[in-house]
């Protein structure tokens, strides 16, 4: 189990697979660069990313706001009429900032220097799924995102404790309000069920006792930070996982991570995210052992995964459905075009079933085949036109269906937006554009890193062959067709 990929198996296909899964894919040149390295070097380039400088700036408002306390006070003392206006304005600002935050993160994914760091941030966002719809604070959502980025490939306990004390999480799962008189079970339950152990590996009693241990871990609205409230903490004895003691939140989380199931659970989840399929029990054991032996350090686990022969099995390569975010980010990378404006990006992924910072519930997104319904598949096919030819109508139509109360005028305006088309000249050399025979393989290499079926190749050949010449417009239409296939949805 988990034996290393030999160098003689390393080629363009495996390098593409690595970049697609550990990151968001790339253009043939980027894949080519990884292909000529050894497997260990290629994986290291992704995993040891601290060596790559990252000078991305944060949104201006991504910091504590001392004047916020004043504004809250002012709102409390204002007349009902004024308070309503102030609240409306604050809510409007929040909504705009979330849109900005989404765009900022997508930009990092599309252009940032550290693909795996962003991909892991995305993993943790789906794992510790927290929604802005309840947290309603862009700074706090940004702060949680930043936490995932900084600690996401480090130590499991360290990450878990930081998340338990994260303001957005404290609000999201009601931990902030939990006190000894009425312990709130929401976080205690989900941290076991969804975040660390999985259903069936804890009892109801464990949940209620853990909730007691966590009482007192709370959130200070004025400081916008974690705070401990000793008066709220239940100091009594608790029994969790058969062990008794005067446990507090920290103790409980340490007990959690010490369970053998904790290593199995998170290793399996990571494998499923990157490989696209749940690991067998034997593979899970092997991954968990690697993880534990490394002191619950994620980097070691990731490196082992990405270097394993299992990761490059034929049943794994090109057998994972792209998430909406992967679809969008991967596409703009391959098409070498800028990300569309923030509101359009929001619409694009939302229509496909994924809204960053607003997962449907604390379980995150199911992923895999569940991304694909007749609705979302047609939306992928149509939104390809948005990315290729700049036609925003498909996005606008979806927006109206999702938010019936959306301002119709706004949606109409959005439908008339042109956001710039892809420059076909960037994607293919003159030689490649000389003939259909030269163009088709280049198109497949760029979009699929694999070949279409012969019947499909014939369709594309016929389409292109039927054009008077291989103009940019004809080429974009051919790409549009290629992106409107089942094959393009796979990574």
């Amino acid at each position: 189990m988990l034996s290393r990929m030999p160098a003689d198996r390393w080629d363009f296909t495996t390098a593409a697979h690595l970049l697609n899964r550990a990151g968001f894919g790339g253009v043939p040149m980027e894949i080519g660069r990884l292909a000529v390295m050894s497997p260990a070097q290629a994986v290291s380039w992704l995993v040891d990313y601290e060596r790559i400088p990252d000078n991305t700036t944060n949104p201006a408002w991504a910091q504590p706001d001392p004047e916020r306390a004043e504004r809250l006070r002012a709102a409390r003392n204002a007349s009902p009429e004024e308070r309503r206006k102030l609240v409306q304005e604050m809510q409007k600002n929040q909504r705009e900032q979330i849109v900005e935050l989404r765009a900022w993160w997508l930009q990092r994914m599309a252009c940032g220097p550290r693909p795996l760091q962003e991909k892991m941030t995305l993993f943790w966002h789906g794992h510790f799924a927290t929604s802005a719809e309840k947290v309603r604070d862009a700074y706090l959502m940004w702060r949680q995102n930043d936490l995932f980025r900084r600690l996401g490939t480090g130590n499991w306990l360290e990450l878990l404790v930081a998340v338990a004390k994260d303001p957005a999480m404290l609000i999201w799962l009601d931990q902030a309000q939990s006190r000894k008189e009425h312990p709130n079970e929401n976080f205690a339950r989900e941290v076991m069920e969804l975040f660390t152990l999985g259903e069936g590996h804890y009892t109801e009693k464990d949940v209620t006792e853990a909730a007691r241990a966590l009482t007192g871990w709370s959130y200070d609205r004025l400081d916008e930070d974690f705070t401990e409230r000793p008066m709220w903490h239940d100091r009594g004895e608790k029994t969790i996982f058969g062990q008794t003691g005067y446990f507090d939140g920290q103790d409980f989380l340490e007990l959690l991570v010490a369970r053998p199931q904790a290593a199995r659970f998170i290793s399996a989840k990571l494998w499923n995210f990157f490989a696209g399929t749940p690991p067998s029990p034997e593979l899970t054991d092997a991954l968990a052992a690697t993880f534990r032996e490394a002191g619950n350090q994620f980097k070691t686990l990731l490196r082992t995964m990405f270097l394993s022969q299992e990761f490059y099995a034929p049943s794994i390569i090109r057998n994972q459905v792209k998430s909406p975010v992967q679809w969008l980010v991967g596409s703009v990378r391959m098409l070498e075009r800028p990300l569309p404006p923030p509101l359009v990006c929001t619409g694009l992924t939302r229509n496909l079933g994924q809204d960053l910072f607003a997962p449907p519930n604390v379980k995150g997104w199911d992923g895999g085949l569940s991304w694909i319904t007749t609705n979302t598949l047609l939306a992928r096919y149509n939104e390809a036109a948005t990315l290729l030819q700049g036609d925003v109508a498909p996005v606008a139509g979806g927006a109206l269906a999702n938010r019936p109360n959306a301002n119709r005028q706004f949606v109409r305006r959005m439908a008339q937006l042109r956001i710039g088309a892809v420059d076909a000249g960037k994607l293919f050399t003159e030689k490649q554009r000389e003939s259909v025979d030269a163009l088709l393989p280049a198109l497949e290499r760029r979009l699929l890193q694999a070949q279409f079926k012969p019947e499909q190749e014939k369709v594309l050949r016929d389409y292109l062959g039927g054009q008077p010449e291989l103009t940019d417009s004809a080429i974009l239409n051919a790409i549009r067709l290629a992106m409107s296939t089942p094959e393009y949805q796979l990574t």
Binding site: D174, E181, H182, N184, N186, R189, E193, E199, E204, G276, P314, I317, N319, Q320, V321, P360, V362, K363, G368, L369, I372, T373, T374, N375, T376, L377, L378, A379, Y381, N382, A385, L388, Q389, A393, P394, L400, A401, N402, R403, P404, A450, Q451, K453, P454, E455, Q456, V459, L460, Y463, G466, S473, L476, N477, R480, L481, S484, T485, P486, Q489, L490
Partner: protein, 441 residues
């Protein structure tokens, strides 16, 4: 084996409707006969055709999050109720009384009207043994109709499709939204999902020049046809690429692409031509039911529609949230019923609500309630046995199970009633064993 048959007949279907055949939506006779021949097994199971044009229709409405049943169907005369909920308990004067003991939440004026006009059955205390308080696990239990101690792979409606609806029409099940509910998961993946009919097609658009659109659409269709039969063996030797595993992601994508094409024209034509006969609220639920009403009015041969409304997980601030949600629920369902009535389709339609669990009897410290167990289901239609069914579980502390209401009706007997009395199919093969159907319709 079965997979290939259905995919092949779907392809046949596509060829007929798309490449010049008449756009009639009945299953062509020769196909129907072929099916009868193929359904050699289970001769006693009446295979239902998918031309549900005059058949009965079930609309399933999921209330996601765990709706607090106690504040929905309110035991206002019970002291235990008021004692357990000093803050969030509803005052007797506000409740819409149904009898001397229970009444509806004040925001459910729509349901009260339906109750008074004999179109609402309230199944009290619906639940199951060994209740699970996890959203996901309990939702799974309701969607798969499994015992809480077992895991079923397929959804109960998926098993209904597999057992009783083998046919080529993918619109036998329609979900309004982006994700297919687990209830639809089937051995033979079935059902379509949509929310905006206008966009429910391949839009060639973009920079197509005149005359180019046609080529684009034709090419698109050919790119999305799954592999031809073994007869085109000449090309198979030349295939490259990874070995296709049955049930691979690519298989699923191809099948979905085909379903989308097959259903697109008809759905768009209906949505474009059918007028709603009532005014629906502008909420997401209102819009979903509005679309369902159109599709029914346009004779889409669907047997099962699925819509959902979220937000019921009221750990905090329950009063405001639940009021808003229940008002939306009552108004949206009322509008839908009115639309059906005006269309003359109400006798064919049954709407059933469910939620993954109710909530605890005692309120918590944050003006809300935590995950519970038994809760009411609502069944609406012209033909329902209107009134209060089942038994309201006792709120007395000694009668509770870990602080939660004990169920009085197993939800699978409601499913059994729907399957047998409404969808006219045997419930045992679908639910795994015999559940005595509740007398609902």
């Amino acid at each position: 084996m079965r997979d290939e048959i259905t995919l092949q007949t779907r392809r046949e279907f596509l060829r007929h409707t798309v490449l010049g055949g008449a756009l009639s939506w009945t299953v062509p006779t020769f196909l129907a006969n072929t099916f009868s021949a193929l359904q050699a097994e289970a001769a006693d199971q009446a295979t239902q055709t998918t031309t549900g044009r005059d058949g009965t229709i079930l609309v399933v409405l999921q209330m996601a999050g765990g709706n607090d049943g106690i504040n929905t169907v309110v035991p206002y005369a019970d002291d235990h109720y008021h004692r357990a909920r000093p803050r969030i308990g509803l005052a007797e004067a506000k409740v819409l009384k149904l009898n001397g003991e229970v009444g509806l939440h004040p925001a459910l004026t729509g349901f009260k009207e339906l109750y008074d006009s004999g179109r609402l059955a309230i199944v009290q205390g619906a639940g199951y043994p060994n209740p699970n308080r996890s959203h996901f696990r309990s939702t799974e239990i309701w969607q798969t109709a499994s015992d809480s101690t077992r895991f079923e792979r397929y959804g109960w409606l998926g098993r209904y499709f597999d057992n009783a609806c083998s046919g080529s029409d993918p619109t036998v099940g329609v979900c309004i939204g982006h994700q297919m509910p687990q209830a639809f998961t089937a051995r033979q993946p079935t059902g379509v999902s949509l929310d905006n009919p206008q966009n429910y097609r391949f839009m060639a658009g973009g920079s197509s020049r005149p005359g180019q659109s046609g080529n684009m659409e034709e090419s698109f269709r050919k790119l999305n046809q799954p592999e031809e039969d073994a007869n085109s063996g000449a090309t198979i030797g030349a295939l490259s690429g990874p070995v296709r595993h049955t049930g691979s992601a690519l298989d699923f994508l191809e099948r979905t692409a085909l379903d989308a094409q097959v259903s697109s024209d008809k759905i768009r034509s209906i949505a474009g031509s059918v007028q709603n006969a009532a005014t629906h609220p502008g909420s997401q639920l209102g819009n979903s039911l509005k679309l369902v009403a159109k599709l029914i009015g346009g004779s889409l041969p669907t047997r099962i529609f699925y819509v959902s409304q979220g937000g019921y997980d009221t750990h905090t601030n329950q009063i405001n949230t639940q009021e808003r949600l229940l008002k939306d629920l009552g108004d949206s369902v009322s509008a839908f019923v009115e639309d059906m009535r005006a269309q003359g389709n109400l006798p064919r339609v049954l709407l059933m609500t469910f939620s993954e669990f109710g909530r605890r009897v005692a309120e918590n410290a944050n003006g809300g309630t935590d995950h519970g167990a038994a809760a009411p289901m609502f069944v609406i239609g012209e033909k329902v046995k209107s009134g209060l069914l089942g038994q309201y579980p006792s709120l007395a502390p000694s009668d509770l199970f870990q602080g939660d209401l004990k169920f009085s009706v197993d939800f699978r007997s409601v499913y059994a009633a729907v399957l047998e009395s409404w969808l006219k199919t045997k419930s045992e093969p679908i639910l795994g064993r015999k559940f005595a159907p509740l007398q609902i319709v």
